[in-house]
């Protein structure tokens, strides 16, 4: 049995072409429609006044934000899957997202005057829940896949409870946080993109530098140790990148599930488990998947704006079941 590795470059390239097409199409869709030509003109600064306002103030930031967050969540999932040596790991199932959410919600509802600390709070909350999952899943010098998932369920339910409690206690302030809680990109503008993008790019670069380490973890602990890797250092770095990327996303748009789980999975089916291909593929596919989800959310039921988190849950859940039936998980 030979493997065809040549096609992977082509697959990744095609995914990015598809992403660019999706970006242009998605920018054109909405209450005011634009043709691809108009969009390309506007992108190069030759659009009319109306199209400039709508495109630059609303569509472009939203589309780019969806792509950026898709990348963050997909990379976060890919990294967690490497660290935990577990195809089921993702920021949602391991409780990282809900830990970050509790921290953000606490600031939004209880101490709104500190809202500039939201990204940091999200990173701390996410790190704490990752630590809890590790501690709970740890048994006799190692973490087993099944214990990670059980620990994730436990941590998720604890944080879910806290989110419920905070929502009840501060129900008067809740409507303002509701969009965020559901994982929505609605109303996000250039300001949000400007905050998100630099944070995210730092995470992406670090992720790209972790490719070999992620690959070595695939060979198991003992082999990694034999090859001279400091396992704990590698684990801490990869986990932190994963938590950081997920927390940055949560702090802006709330919890969006399944991207971190499903995208690396799809990427693995398309280009294999080598992180050299898996990381770029997760970047292209993550952006594409969340962009499509958000575009569906804001156009299918217009004028209703369905949060991307809800679309992902409705579509991603059954897809996950399908993966389970196929026996890949």
């Amino acid at each position: 049995m030979l493997v065809h590795k040549k096609a992977t470059g082509l697959t990744i390239g095609l995914t990015f072409v598809l992403l660019i097409l999706a970006i242009i199409v998605s920018m054109g869709l909405g209450s005011v429609q634009f043709s691809p030509v108009e969009i390309i003109k506007a992108l190069f600064g030759h659009g009319g006044e109306v199209s400039d306002t709508i495109l630059w103030d609303i569509r472009i930031p939203r589309v780019m934000l969806a792509a950026v967050i898709g990348i963050n969540l997909a990379l976060s999932g890919a990294m967690l899957q490497a660290v935990m040596n577990n195809p089921l790991a993702d920021p949602g199932l391991t409780g990282v997202s809900s830990g970050a959410s509790v921290a953000v919600l606490f600031i939004l509802l209880v101490v709104p005057q500190f809202s500039s600390f939201i990204p940091f709070a999200a990173i701390i909350g996410g790190s704490l829940s990752a630590l809890m999952v590790y501690a709970l899943a740890w048994k006799k010098r190692g973490i087993t896949p099944i214990r990670v998932i059980l620990a994730g369920v436990a941590v998720n339910s604890v944080f879910g409870g806290i989110i419920g409690l905070l929502s009840l206690l501060y129900s008067d302030k809740l409507p303002g946080a509701l969009q965020w809680l559901n994982g929505s990109l609605s109303g996000k503008g250039m300001g949000d993109l400007r905050v998100m993008l630099p944070y995210s790019v730092i995470g992406w670069i670090v992720a790209l530098f972790c490719i070999r380490q992620a690959n070595i973890l695939r060979l198991g602990e003992q082999v990694a140790l034999n090859l001279g890797e400091s396992l704990n250092r590698v684990r801490i770095i990869l986990s932190f990148v994963a938590v950081y990327l997920a927390a940055v996303s949560v702090s802006t748009v709330g919890m969006i599930g399944f991207v971190g789980l499903v995208v690396p999975h799809m990427a693995r089916m398309l280009v294999g488990s080598d992180y050299k291909h898996l990381i770029p593929m997760s970047i292209g596919l993550g952006a594409l998947v969340l962009l499509v989800a958000d575009t569906i959310g804001r156009t299918f039921f217009a004028p209703l704006d369905i949060p991307a988190g809800i679309v992902m849950a409705v579509v991603g859940g059954p897809y996950f079941l399908y993966l389970m039936r196929k026996g890949d998980v």
């Binding site: 030979l2 070999r212 070595i216 695939r218 060979l219 140790l225 034999n226 090859l227 890797e229 488990s273």
Partner: protein, 266 residues
């Protein structure tokens, strides 16, 4: 002949139980040393302790005169390789890819493989007779072929010392011999010092320069196969009556187990 690997008063505990107790073992350059002993005697634990895969409670290990605890893990990997019993490989990893990971200890965090690395990878694949398998998936190989692929990865590390934990387990007799013959040829031709855990006493007898017998975490005997593999040792350590046959012109005795030495057990 100088000392390649030396463990001094090594003690290792696992979940509060002391598995290896004050063990000292001295391996010279170019030797093949087999560690034998009953199940649960601490053979694998000793091997992992000597290769820093698991922490030692006390004692020290030196490789070519340098103490492991004073070296960086990467430095150790450039001199020593350990292959454990069960290895996982991703479903889509080819032999060539697996072998290329052997170069990791010689690379920095983000350094790419050079032409020299690729030459070493080719050489390692050739040495282990895996040339025609290099594009095959590791999971599609038979047990013996997979073991050879892992040994190729070990070779790409360019180690001076190779530690093998039961390299023949789960293999049929032909593949067992194939792996052991490969190990011997690597030892003879490349001068790699080998320390391995074996179960089969006759294989230990045939393929080792020295045998170390471990019982309950303590070194019972160390020496040449002909000195160690005696009727008394097999009865004391394994509780088995065996006939030990010395063939003329051979340093390797043959062992023929007869029956368990202790009657009415169980």
């Amino acid at each position: 002949m100088y000392s390649m690997l030396e463990a001094t008063s090594l003690s290792i505990s696992y979940d509060g139980n002391r598995i290896v107790k004050d063990v000292s073992l001295h391996v010279n350059e170019g030797e093949i040393v087999s560690i034998i002993g009953p199940n649960g005697s601490g053979k694998s634990t000793l091997l992992k302790g000597m290769s820093r895969l698991i922490p030692c409670e006390s004692g020290r290990v030196c490789i070519a005169g340098q103490e492991l605890s004073a070296m960086r893990s990467k430095q150790i990997s450039q001199m020593m390789c350990i292959l454990c019993q069960s290895n996982q490989t991703p479903a889509d990893m080819t032999v060539e890819e697996l072998v290329s990971y052997g170069r990791t200890p010689h690379k920095k965090w983000f350094e790419r493989l050079t032409r020299e690395d690729h030459e070493i990878i080719d050489w390692a694949i050739e040495q282990t007779g895996m040339t025609s398998y290099r594009k095959r998936l590791v999971v599609s190989l038979s047990g013996g072929e997979a073991q050879r692929a892992w040994i190729a990865m070990a070779l790409a590390q360019r180690p001076k010392v190779l530690l093998l934990d039961e390299p023949t387990t789960y293999l049929d007799i032909a593949h067992q011999l194939e792996v052991l013959e490969l190990v011997r040829s690597l030892n003879k031709e490349l001068g790699i010092t080998v320390i391995m855990v074996l179960h089969d006493l006759n294989q230990a007898s045939t393929y080792s320069d020295k045998i170390c017998v471990i019982r309950s975490g303590v070194v019972e005997l160390v020496g040449k196969p002909s000195e160690v593999l005696t009727h008394e040792m097999i009865r004391n350590v394994y509780g088995v009556e065996a006939e030990v046959e010395f063939t003329p012109n051979s340093t390797s005795p043959r062992i023929h187990p007869i029956r368990r030495a202790v009657a009415n057990v169980g």
